[in-house]
Symmetry: C2
Subunit: 329 residues, 2 copies
Amino acid sequence: MADVAAHVGVSRQLVSLVLADKPGPNPRTRERVLRGAEDLGYRADTAAQLLRRARSRQLGVLFTMEHQLETHIVEALYPAAAEAGYELVLGALLPTRSERRAIDDLIGLRCEALILIGLAEQAPAHLAKVAEQVPVVEIAQYTGATGTDSVRTDDAAGVRAAVDHLVDLGHSDIVHVDGGELPGAAHRREGYLAAMRTNGITERAEVLSGDYTVESGVTAARTLLERDRLPTAVVAANDLCACGVVETLVRAGVRTPDDVSVAGYDDSRTASLPYLDLTTVHQDTGRMAEIAVRCAVERLDEGRTHDRVDVLEPALTIRSSTAPPTPER
Amino acid sequence: MADVAAHVGVSRQLVSLVLADKPGPNPRTRERVLRGAEDLGYRADTAAQLLRRARSRQLGVLFTMEHQLETHIVEALYPAAAEAGYELVLGALLPTRSERRAIDDLIGLRCEALILIGLAEQAPAHLAKVAEQVPVVEIAQYTGATGTDSVRTDDAAGVRAAVDHLVDLGHSDIVHVDGGELPGAAHRREGYLAAMRTNGITERAEVLSGDYTVESGVTAARTLLERDRLPTAVVAANDLCACGVVETLVRAGVRTPDDVSVAGYDDSRTASLPYLDLTTVHQDTGRMAEIAVRCAVERLDEGRTHDRVDVLEPALTIRSSTAPPTPER
DNA sequence: ACCTGGGATTAGCACGTGCCAATCCCGTGT
DNA sequence: ACACGGGATTGGCACGTGCTAATCCCAGGT
């Protein structure tokens, strides 16, 4: 910046004012400074800005790179943050890199708040401790740690909607392949059981264990295929699992939805593949991202101190993987 | 840091020495300082370190979040960078965020070099200009921009290996579904054509257009299904495309590999799904990551100035999606 | 001629750290 | 008793920027 100032023949401070687009500098001078900066290929030094500025206006985002849904959320976070006048700093959670390390890095970079996309296997154990230092917002996860906000979809309601949809179509033999102990899986399982109860078919309820992977869907489907009779419908804990179920059934000569209806969860890209075309539960990632940023902003700029928990209503996306059961031949 | 110093009762500078693990401080003092830092929950301020240090020892990584392969490469970059004593800073390339912006952000954060994972549709137009300022390494892409290093797999050789494998099995009706104008697609197409020529079956060569997506595999398979006779084997430009081909064929009652053998490319998670179990071409992401970091280090620490282009040999991973053709019934 | 006022510009400090040089302290040898 | 040496510790400056307050300059009114 000093170089630019010398090149134009003004003080460094004037250059600072011009580049920050602050009122004061004479339009003509402003023009000259901008030209000079361009000529010299000047780039602001973020490190120095960060050091000097009272506020960094940066939000840290912690995510794994494993799930498509996380990617969508990250993408949605960018415009939401920009809208609120914040930048995003990404921090990847990897097997080889401890969550602790990732969090420290982001805080070291002066992030004012952390947004944690909670699809990783374990939530940071010391979340409450971190929340003492900076606001923490969890997306798609609710650990209940104090000082933490949470935005998620009502997973129980989503699965209930899927089950209700199947019941409306005439199904009653509906099996659930769950997500084990992974985030959200408990809610989805409860939603399934609740819906089965409400529809008066509790005795038909059955939960097969899974883990949100295609492989777990394959395993579950194989278990079903070993039986004398297949259920007429399967509600999987997520789209990947549903995919595994469908593919395994198809290869065993069982057609979807003709023989068995299958529903997924998340409305990911997998769900909309033409040959799967899964009925699934849509999570509004855009809105989750907006609310997450809003939570951070409320704590940072508006002094909110109490915890906020937002639970969004999911929407059932009906596609062609579910249909009325065909009478047994 | 000053707080820690006051708390322990030593000078700030001593704290700096201890935390940087430099020789000098007395072991006992060192212990006390570390305890003090722990008590106060001290975290180094990266911004200040960056500002002060001559070197930032940070590498910027540009990637989209669209392809699994990119994720694998990013994961592999972390240990490679750590090995060389560098940190990674992630910069996401998104539709809503210009490459220009992403690059400026990373340079503003004082990244000493940029590693560009080249699966995005377009390479930054001003790459040569950027390379004047900081070393640039491209992974899985070769734009030929001056001042730029490139690490990629010999895609032509990979596809040749796949075709040769199929020919060895007895195939000659081998169709290629390509990746259009996307990065690497041209090489893969050429590899296919070259292998067909070498094996003396040029007249059987046929290229269907695609774009590395599952959908393009579906489209290609539908095109094939409309014909009187199917080819006996399909070599897809990547695993996703292969997946689309297989799924579409299966649903049309065509089995893999019994009726048609299908080979993919990338050895992604898709390829190893139990019901696909694709024969595919393995790219050594770990090694590409290591070399990419090495390229940056050579330019940064060892003064290399000439461009370096590394082409790795791929390895054919043979699974169950390819088999000898069954004589026509 | 002098004061006033306000737009334009500048000087100086501060942010938290790393590096260099200077200083302190204590045991040892003469 | 004094100089010496080396490990341990400290002071001061610099990095590039933003903010506050001060200064400059010039036109206009008295």
